[in-house]
Assembly symmetry: C2
Homo-oligomer: 117 residues x 2
């Protein structure tokens, strides 16, 4: 049974802080760009030798760094930001940590902005 005098028990009405964190993570040109690259890593990173299947595990930090032109530390912390926001998942393969998009999370976030009628 639901607690009787709980304020705003109308679930799903308030702006979720989780969504705000995800939007903050995307509200940066470099991070948004990386997220778009990770939509089709096989095509976008064709000029670098893949360490593992990019459609499965995504792209390693070195290749993200090479394509973006940003400092290594910058790319690393950006990917941490995106992962904390729940927008990417990481997989270690040998020495390389690979990041891939979480399509479900992106889809859910898009739904917060615009619920298709």
């Amino acid at each position: 049974m639901m607690p009787e005098n709980s304020p705003r028990s109308e679930a799903g009405q308030h702006a979720p802080l989780e969504a705000v964190e995800a939007l903050k993570a995307l509200a940066n040109p470099a991070r948004l760009q990386i997220m778009e690259w990770l939509r089709d890593p096989h095509t976008e990173f064709a000029e670098w030798e893949p360490i593992a299947d990019r459609d499965e595990v995504g792209v390693c930090v070195s290749h993200l760094q090479a394509k973006s032109g940003l400092a290594q530390s910058t790319v690393s912390s950006y990917m941490t930001t995106l992962e904390r926001a729940g927008l990417v998942r990481s997989t270690r393969i040998g020495k390389w940590i690979h990041y891939r998009r979480d399509e479900h999370a992106m889809s859910r976030l898009a739904g917060v902005l615009h619920t298709p009628s």
Copy 2:
């Protein structure tokens, strides 16, 4: 013919700055909350007497201020931020400036995050 040595002339690949501005505008709990209220202004602002048809012109700053509990200047500048980002449109009715969601803009932004397959 395309200029031969122009860097990244692959159109439509880069993350649009327009989208980044919109995401920045939404990456704040109060502003995101306001955008959600403006999805159904008729219901959300039922306790305040409407100055005009809310489904048409949206909600005036006074009512947004009352519901949010923020300072008047804060709400005003937040709405300016959202309007500059192209996420709301404004209409003056008497002394009251009303803001309503731009659903097309929100839908387009959602599409940047997740293109439905």
